[in-house]
Symmetry: C2
Subunit: 252 residues, 2 copies
Amino acid sequence: MAPRARRAERRTDALSRERIIEAAVELLDQAGEGGLTFRALTERLATGPGAIYWHVAGKGELLAAATDAVVATALAEPAATAQPAEPAEAAKSAESARVPSSPRDEIRAVALGLYDAIDAHPWLAAQLTTQLARSPSESVTPRILESIGRPVRALGVPEGGWFTATFALVHYILGAAGQNAANEGGAFLAPGVDRDQYLDAVASAWEQLDPSDYPFMRALARQLRGHDDQAEFLAGVDLVLAGITAVHPLTR
Amino acid sequence: MAPRARRAERRTDALSRERIIEAAVELLDQAGEGGLTFRALTERLATGPGAIYWHVAGKGELLAAATDAVVATALAEPAATAQPAEPAEAAKSAESARVPSSPRDEIRAVALGLYDAIDAHPWLAAQLTTQLARSPSESVTPRILESIGRPVRALGVPEGGWFTATFALVHYILGAAGQNAANEGGAFLAPGVDRDQYLDAVASAWEQLDPSDYPFMRALARQLRGHDDQAEFLAGVDLVLAGITAVHPLTR
DNA sequence: ACCTGAACACCGTTCAAGT
DNA sequence: ACCTGAACACCGTTCAAGT
């Protein structure tokens, strides 16, 4: 006898690890880290929790796999995408994406690729920082370290400096991109508040701090209003690159 | 009629926001972020959940308050503490903690203070990165930005560079300190594995990656074995400082 | 081999009721 | 004003049972 009718449609094709990870990414994109739930997942995939546990060890592995999938595609792409610059600039950067680029340009391109991925999937930021710290041999960590570290080496940094230079870049990139994604997110103030209004509200809050305790924050507030996120991000990447060059003078 | 006897001892002094936050920090230190639970909190404080909600809005506020309390005391201290160096070095650093220090030394001291705080309270790392991104006007964010930003300004960086320089430092500091704290944590591999064994295991895992996909990771593994965490951390701070000086040549 | 779904041991939060 | 504790609506995970 057939089981009594259910409202939710039954899945027709078989379950697989890939389908589960795909659904997990969709849930994360829609509702953030809190949106990834075995209940929501079973509903979307029209199964029971046991079926998911057959393919995946648990929530942690699911999160790691979702992170890895998104980062892998982000680092595979040319990654010189979202550069909303002058026409001339845009042409130049499109060109430099094809040409075998200098190590500096490659680092900038990888940084922008991660920036865009985190912007599109804000839940990535927290995942990447925890995985970088706690699962250094899980696949996503080597992927990121390799794609930053290889051009660092090509820059001419001596072996003793690889570790410091690579991690300085990676920590800056993940931190700054995560902060930017949170600004875009919008879910942190009242709905209907856009990014400029949000930054303006933060600046106002900084300006209202006690000026004798927080003299610098008042000054910093002025810079926050109407600043260009992506330009700011790239300026930070260039600052770290300048530090690498300064510490290792033979660097190209 | 008295309520039936309970095993748990009753608290004698009144509850307060401070006592709750103190208990929250203890739970976080003992068992990490997962250890902070309203059940565990009510047991330790010998009350019901309603009593806690009378003093505190919810778990998020509790986490933010615990973070703020720990960082506030870390930044208030001289912060040149945990320098396990040669006797002569130790005397020198103790001295430089008293003397009105240069902006560079002040940045190094603040960085070390945060490094030590995150080392002692590993749950801090994730809290700080999310709060920096999502609650830029909550008290802990201005506290950190001010204590890094003020010496950045004193360095002679022109106003247009304050934002980039301050955030490059802060992102590096939080990212690197969090990574170090995770290494110390030890709870990520089998119990009884110490830090050196852990780093060795990570290095081995890196070396076993496919060399044609991950040429750099094999080389990086050599540097991971037996590296000095605190020296590594400070080298990164100095690299970012060198970048600031290079980008702003008039800087002292 | 793959899937079902009830059940278990948790969570954070609320709220009528007490003092 | 401050606290109690049962109750609610969730969680992730397990596991005997089905096919």
